[in-house]
C-alpha cells in the first residue's frame, strides 16, 4: 500500500514517457508518409501555393505588427542599458543580432503556430469530423497527398519568409526608436549593424533555425488535425495541443540548435 503510493508517480512518469516516445514514433512515420506522398504537391504546385496563401499571407499582419513592436521595445530597452555603459552607438548591432539570432525565428514561429498552425489543425480535424477525408479516400484520392502534404510544404516554405519579415520589421522598429525618436546618429546606427552582423554566422543560422521551426510546427499542426478525435470536442482539444506542443518544441529546439550553432 505504502509502496504503491510511492510508486504511483513513478508509474505515471513511465507511462507518459512511453506515450511521448510512442507519439514521436508515429509522427516520424507520418512525416515519412507525407514525404512519400509529396509528388503531387510539387507536380500540382498550385495546391501548395493556395495553402501558402492561407498559412503565410494571412499571418502577415500579425507578423508585421509584432515585429515592429518587438523591435521598438528592443530599441528602448537596449538604449537604456547601453547608454549606462556609454555605448549607445552599438544599438543597431544589438537590435539586429538579437532579432536575427533569437527573437526573429523564435517569436515568428510562436506566432505562426498560434495563427496558422492552429488553423491547420482545426481545418483538417473538421474535415475528418465531417467525413470529408473519408469521402476523399473513398474517391480513391489519398488525403495525405491531397490535404496534408500541400499544407505541410506551405508551412515549411512560409516560416523562413515570415521570420525574415519579422526581422526586417523589428530592425525598422529599432531604427524608429533609436534614430527617429531618441535621435542617435543614423550613419552610426546602420554601420554598427553592418560591421557586427555576419552573413553566414548570424543571418544563415537564423534562417536554418526558422526552417527547423517551420518543419516542427507544421508537422505538429497537420498531425494533430489528422489524428484528432472526429468530434467538436476532439478538434478543439487537438487545436489546443498544437499550440502548446509547438511552443514547447520551438523553445526546446531553439536551445539545442543554439548550442550547436553559436
Amino acid at each position: 500500500m505504502m509502496l504503491d503510493n510511492l510508486l504511483a508517480p513513478l508509474r505515471h512518469l513511465g507511462h507518459s514517457t512511453i506515450n511521448a516516445v510512442w507519439k514521436l514514433g508515429v509522427m516520424s512515420r507520418f512525416l515519412l508518409a507525407i514525404i512519400a506522398h509529396s509528388g503531387q504537391s510539387l507536380l500540382r504546385f498550385q495546391l501548395t501555393i493556395r495553402e501558402v496563401y492561407f498559412a503565410g499571407v494571412l499571418s502577415l499582419i500579425i507578423i508585421v505588427v509584432s515585429g515592429l513592436f518587438v523591435g521598438m521595445v528592443l530599441g528602448l530597452q537596449g538604449y537604456n542599458t547601453l547608454s549606462r555603459f556609454g555605448s549607445a552607438d552599438a544599438l543597431g548591432a544589438l537590435v539586429a543580432l538579437s532579432l536575427l539570432r533569437e527573437l526573429g525565428p523564435v517569436l515568428a514561429a510562436l506566432l505562426f503556430a498560434s495563427r496558422s498552425g492552429s488553423a491547420m489543425t482545426a481545418e483538417i480535424g473538421l474535415m475528418k469530423a465531417t467525413e470529408q477525408l473519408e469521402a476523399m479516400s473513398v474517391m480513391a484520392v489519398d488525403p495525405i497527398a491531397r490535404v496534408v502534404a500541400p499544407r505541410f510544404w506551405a508551412g515549411v516554405i512560409s516560416m523562413p519568409i515570415l521570420a525574415a519579415l519579422f526581422n526586417v520589421m523589428g530592425i525598422f522598429g529599432g531604427y524608429l526608436v533609436g534614430v527617429v525618436m531618441i535621435g542617435l546618429d543614423e550613419g552610426t546606427f546602420w554601420s554598427q549593424m553592418q560591421n557586427n552582423v555576419d552573413l553566414h554566422f548570424d543571418v544563415i543560422n537564423g534562417l536554418i533555425k526558422s526552417l527547423f521551426f517551420g518543419i516542427a510546427v507544421t508537422l505538429i499542426a497537420v498531425f494533430e488535425g489528422f489524428d484528432a478525435t472526429p468530434t467538436a470536442a476532439g478538434v478543439s482539444s487537438a487545436t489546443t495541443r498544437t499550440v502548446v506542443t509547438s511552443a514547447l518544441v520551438i523553445l526546446a529546439l531553439d536551445f539545442v540548435l543554439t548550442a550547436f550553432m553559436f
Binding site: 470529408q132 479516400s137 484520392v141
Partner: protein, 269 residues
C-alpha cells in the same frame, strides 16, 4: 435469383475491437440490382458499406466484388476498385471549402486529364442529372439539406461508377426532397445499370424502388426478400419494422446480453 452476383458477402464477420458488429453475414447483390439493407441505428449498416469500399477489412469471410476479394487488395488495387465506385455519405461530406462546381469536378480532375472545357461540360451534365444546374457557384453552406445531398450525389456519379453505395440517403429530408432523391436513385440505377447498395431505415420509400431487401439485426441477416415478399411477410420482426411499431419483438430498451435475432429465433434465418 441472383446467379450473376456482382457483390457478394461470404460468411463475413467484423468487429471494432472486441465488439462484434457483423456476424457471419452472407448476401448477394446482382449486377444492375438495387438492394436495400435495413436495420436500426447502430446495427452495422455503415460498417457493411465500409467493407465493400475496402476502408475496413473483414476479420472472417470474404467480401467479393466482381469476383475479387476486397479484403485482400493492396493499396493500389483498392484505389482502382474505388474508382469504379461511388458513395453517397450519410451527411453528404461535401468539401466545405469548395463551391458546388469544384466539389463535383473533384473526382474528374483527380482521375482524368480532361481539358477544363470537358470537365465543365461533365460537371454541368451531372448537376443537370440531379436537377441542380445553376448552383455551380454556391458554397455547400448555402445549400439546403436536400440540395447538398443531391450535389453529393452528382459528385458520386461524376465518373459513371459501376457500383453505388448509398448511406441513409433519406435521413433528415423533407418529404419532397426525399421523393426526389428516391426517384434519382431509381433513375440512376436503371439508366446507368449500376449495381447499388442502399443502407436505410426508411422502409416505405425503399420498398418502392429496390429490387431486394435484407434486414440486419444483432449483426445477422434477420430476414430477406423482394419488396412484395417483405410486405407479405408474417415474421413479427419484419412486421414491426415495416409498420414502425414501438413495441413488438424489438423492444424499446437496449438488449443487455443476447442478440436481437437470437432472442426471436431468427438465428440462421
Amino acid at each position: 435469383m441472383q446467379n450473376d452476383s456482382f457483390i457478394e458477402f461470404n460468411r463475413v464477420s467484423f468487429g471494432y475491437g472486441d465488439r462484434l458488429i457483423l456476424q457471419d453475414i452472407s448476401l448477394k447483390i446482382g449486377r444492375g440490382q438495387l438492394v436495400a439493407i435495413m436495420g436500426g441505428s447502430g446495427s452495422g449498416k455503415t460498417t457493411l458499406l465500409r467493407l465493400i469500399a475496402g476502408q475496413i477489412r473483414a476479420q472472417q469471410g470474404q467480401v467479393l466484388v466482381d469476383g475479387r476479394d476486397v479484403g485482400r487488395m493492396n493499396q493500389r488495387e483498392l484505389y482502382q476498385h474505388r474508382r469504379r465506385m461511388g458513395m453517397l455519405f450519410q451527411f453528404g461530406a461535401l468539401f466545405t471549402d469548395l463551391p458546388v462546381f469544384d466539389n463535383v469536378a473533384f473526382p474528374i480532375r483527380e482521375h482524368t486529364s480532361l481539358s477544363p472545357e470537358m470537365v465543365r461540360d461533365l460537371v454541368l451534365m451531372k448537376l443537370h442529372a440531379v436537377g441542380l444546374r445553376g448552383t455551380e457557384a454556391l458554397m455547400p453552406a448555402e445549400l439546403s439539406g436536400g440540395m447538398s445531398r443531391r450535389v453529393a450525389l452528382a459528385r458520386a456519379i461524376a465518373l459513371d461508377p459501376q457500383i453505388m453505395l448509398y448511406d441513409e440517403p433519406f435521413t433528415g429530408l423533407d418529404p419532397i426532397s426525399l421523393a426526389t432523391i428516391a426517384l434519382l436513385i431509381k433513375k440512376l440505377s436503371d439508366a446507368l445499370g449500376t449495381s447499388a447498395v442502399m443502407v436505410t431505415h426508411d422502409v416505405h420509400k425503399s420498398l418502392e424502388i429496390v429490387d431486394y431487401v435484407y434486414f440486419i439485426a444483432g449483426g445477422k441477416i434477420a430476414a430477406a426478400g423482394t419488396p412484395d415478399e417483405v410486405r407479405a411477410s408474417d415474421s413479427p420482426w419484419v412486421h414491426q419494422f415495416v409498420h414502425g411499431e414501438a413495441d413488438g419483438p424489438v423492444h424499446f430498451a437496449y438488449p443487455a446480453q443476447q442478440s436481437l435475432a437470437g432472442s426471436f429465433g431468427l438465428e440462421g434465418a
